[in-house]
Symmetry: C2
Subunit: 560 residues, 2 copies
């Protein structure tokens, strides 16, 4: 058996190692266009920023080691030019000297990855307009930051945000421009407002709703970024981080099926429509494990799993990919944003019925030093309570809760299961009622009809008609900032002051994070009032106000 | 409806708050023997040690606040003396003046907790022999640590370990004695060896297999602890942490059913055998959610959930407790030990068939600064791969992985599901193949027969007959320490040196943590050798050697 693998990072490397473990006698050839197989591409921004000091740390493994340990035939700086599916050969070019040869295969695994998008804008070919894909790029950017004063990052996705954190760490005055009205667009806007705030606090100039339209050379060797708004940003260099495009040219030319958004089509065994050709990683169109719909998610975890599965199937092992649930995490200057499954906006886009709740718990017991706050959002099926997705933002412990919720999603668990989850508790690590339990309580209570909720964006959009807005916090909290027009009655006095409330209007009760509002809702409903709780309280309301302030006026609010 | 709740901490407080949310008109009376309702008992060791500076932080809520917000009638410093089930009254004594009265109830919820065990040893009533249950105890211990030079802690469970950490933090020379041959007995011995080592590194004198038999007063007001071994330990004070006993006197006197180990018997609704009396928290016998067998687990999380469920059922809501899975965590001088579900020894004790694997991953990508090591152990069903339990020990990220595995256990997931779990990955937070995935790969590979494993304790117990022990690490690693009698062939040279290996003997291959050993096993089996991988590698082997060295000679090894 001879397996040829094109692309030696993440998915390709995983496939190759798995192939060897499955078959000592197989011939395994890895063709890699770059200089290094299996480098740590997720670490590159941190090498550029100096958090990872040594470049060598990014080299996960060498071609020599892959040969010694796995007897892999690794050919770096070689490029696959075309596939002859009839002859079952790949045409390969040695990049050093341009020489070409044909390599035959029994099974072919494509792991070409995805290329950073470089839009066809005037001046895009300026040498100081960088992208970040491989170690060569990282070297260029590492050098560019030395002595640089100002940089512009175009695109506020994962890489854009990580680059912004790392450029300010290097002392580079950094402007991040993002076309949308929020950074990190897989998340819902209100959930990433704290990440945006953290970038700003760290010194990043963040411009939302801003789009580059041209790059002009400066006399000093720098580049001026012209925005559609007419603004001009002067920079020593620019990093384009507006996303990636699957490297499908080889597959396309070979006549393999390609998805609508450019990903190579594969089935659950990672096989393309050619029975001897598999494809894995950022280049493929896979499917969303929640909705079953096609998706493209360029992340390392899924790529590794897919590589393993493709190798299994090459060697006749039954092994199926279960889809991608979109678990992702990013650090932004001390704030962590993490998510799994469907966001609210994904539900809307796909027409999936959902309900949502927010909680604002602490990472661990509030009485133990060092507890940090977080916001969690749970999106769930309004009929049966099944978890559809979760998002978190805040300090320590966000990654833990989203991982726990990722398991709940994978297992098809419901909000009722989250109520009963038994998680680690000691005061340094969590709370006797963990944030995940709290999500369960709030969501299950909502489904049981115990405490209907209302959402801040509906208050902001004036969609709540003549509702009576009731602030049940203390007068001091109320005085420090409140929803306009709200009446303040401290929860502790509410039972004595029921006479001040209207019986013929809906009452939207709120407190700081939702707990007292929940109690007020329970109390008022039992006294015959039509009361609902403002989900996530004033904290969430302020978050929405902030997200709206970020949004450019030209964009319509995304209200429900 | 009138609900009387006896005991206002954790379970009782949760029941009371839930009861009010369910019924505004109910009369809710909380009888609490101590001075404070709902204090943070899990925080007390850290207050004594000074990590929590202010005593006020331990007061979760006051009686006044519980009245104002929840209209609870909280009666502190009052003790329930007996229950008249016919009359449906409780006899209560005011501790200040001894006055007694009867309080009637419609529903009664017992949340009396569990009392620290004070064994009947000579001198146990010495005033400097403390236990730790409530804030009065914490005050005494807090005062005792001031100016104290030496302390003895009896018992190496959760509280004993936490007290040890906190006394050395206060600069007190601390000896911890534990009757068993390991601390933290819910864990398997080899899994808590690093926690014991951390205590010792921090200055704790740890004596395993040591039992106190008497306490003698010293002239200076201190106390001498006489051990069964004849050793005498001099101390300014002693803390007894040998466990707790359910407070069942009230229930017993009322004729309610009591379990074999003293816990009040309840059904899934938390109801005792009296239809109007419920019981929750540390005082009850509940059931293990994995085995379905009776168990007593005095932890705050389950107590809170049970309180909520008891209140639900008092008010006619269908709500059932799903059992306790034994998720627990403890910090020990920088090392975290966490677990969920069944340990290996619990499986043996209960006769549950199991298989087990170990991995030694890092908390996050090794190339990112600050990654910390951990050991994870997974116990699973050898037939269908269902997760039965997990244990972790090490630095940061242990709590996260055990929480993730607690969800897997709750959901009935298998090792095959763990292979496919999609968890948060960025280099600061995890690895593209998360430690949880690694557990899945190793366990599933074992069940598929890809790489049979052997266990270190069997090597140590010479149960492996004439097996050929093969060290596939580098010569340098081998020279620095190896399994006695092992032959060293670097994995990278193994294919060329197959001739040096026996075809007629079993080969036990090992490396540092199991990864190269796995590869060697795959390689050798394909070449016709009967090879197995030493689970967890030399790291785990050394852990077993250390755990054995700790154990007293009188105890038989717990070998399989």
């Amino acid at each position: 058996m001879k397996v040829v693998i094109i692309g030696a990072v993440a998915g390709g490397a995983s496939a190759a190692a798995r192939a060897r473990r499955l078959d000592e006698s197989a011939e395994i050839v890895l063709i890699e266009r770059g200089a290094d197989p299996s480098f740590a591409n997720c670490g590159m921004p941190y090498y550029i920023g100096g958090e990872i000091e040594s470049r060598e740390k990014l080299i996960v493994t060498s071609a020599g080691m892959l040969h010694d340990r796995y007897r892999l035939d690794v050919r770096v700086r070689q490029e696959a030019l075309r596939i002859d599916r009839q002859a079952k050969t790949v045409r390969v070019r040695r990049l050093e000297n341009g020489a070409e040869y044909d390599e035959s295969y029994d099974k072919l695994i494509l792991s070409p990855g995805a290329a950073p998008i470089r839009p066809e804008l005037p001046g895009i070919d300026h040498p100081k307009v960088y992208t970040l894909r491989n170690l060569d790029d990282a070297d260029l950017l590492h050098a560019a930051t030395m002595g640089a004063k100002r940089a512009v990052i175009v695109g506020g996705g994962f890489i854009g945000v990580e680059m912004a954190e790392n450029l300010v760490r290097r002392g580079v005055e950094t402007t991040l421009i993002e076309r949308n009205d929020q950074i990190l667009t897989p998340w819902d806007a209100e959930m990433v407002a704290p990440a945006a705030a953290a970038l700003r606090s760290a010194g990043v100039t963040l411009k939302l709703g801003a789009e580059a339209e041209a790059f002009e050379p400066q006399d000093d060797g720098g580049v001026t970024v012209a925005l559609k708004s007419g603004e001009q940003l002067s920079a020593d260099f620019v990093v384009m981080c507006i996303g990636v495009r699957p490297e499908n040219a080889l597959a396309k030319a070979a006549g393999l099926a390609i998805g609508e958004r450019g990903g190579i089509r594969v089935d659950e065994t990672m096989r393309t429509d050619d029975p001897d050709i598999y494809a894995v990683g950022d280049a493929v169109e896979t499917f969303d494990s929640v909705t079953g719909k096609p998706t493209q998610i360029p992340l390392a975890g899924p790529a590794n799993r897919q590589g393993r599965i493709a190798a299994d199937n090459c060697f006749g092992r039954e092994s199926r990919y279960r889809g991608t649930q979109g678990t992702a995490i990013v650090g932004a200057c001390g704030v962590t944003a993490a998510m799994t499954g469907l966001s609210e906006k994904a539900c809307r886009r796909l027409g999936v019925a959902f309900e949502k709740v927010y909680v604002h718990p602490a990472s661990n017991a509030g009485y133990y030093p060092g507890a940090e706050g977080m916001t969690l959002k749970l999106v769930f099926d309004p009929e049966n309570g099944r978890v559809l997705g979760a998002q978190g933002v805040g300090g320590k412990g966000v990654d833990k809760r989203i991982d726990v919720l990722a398991m709940a999603l994978q297992a098809g668990m419901t909000v009722y299961d989250l109520e009963e989850s038994e998680l680690c508790y000691a005061p340094q690590y969590g709370s006797a009622k963990d944030p995940v339990n709290m999500l369960g309580f709030v969501a299950a209570g909502l489904l049981r009809g115990d405490h209907p909720v209302e959402h801040a964006h509906r208050l902001l959009d004036c969609e709540l008609g003549d509702s009576f807005v009731l602030d049940v916090r203390s007068p001091g909290e109320h005085a420090a900032g409140a929803v306009p027009g709200a009446t303040n009655i401290n929860i502790d006095e509410l039972r004595e002051r029921l006479g001040e409330l209207p019986k013929d209007r809906r009452i939207v009760a709120y407190c700081k994070v939702g707990m007292r509002g929940y109690l007020a809702t329970r109390l008022l409903r039992q006294h015959g009032f039509d009361a609902v709780n403002l989900s996530g309280g004033f904290t969430k309301y302020e978050r929405f106000v902030a997200a709206r302030a970020e949004a450019t006026p030209k964009m319509a609010p995304s209200g429900r």
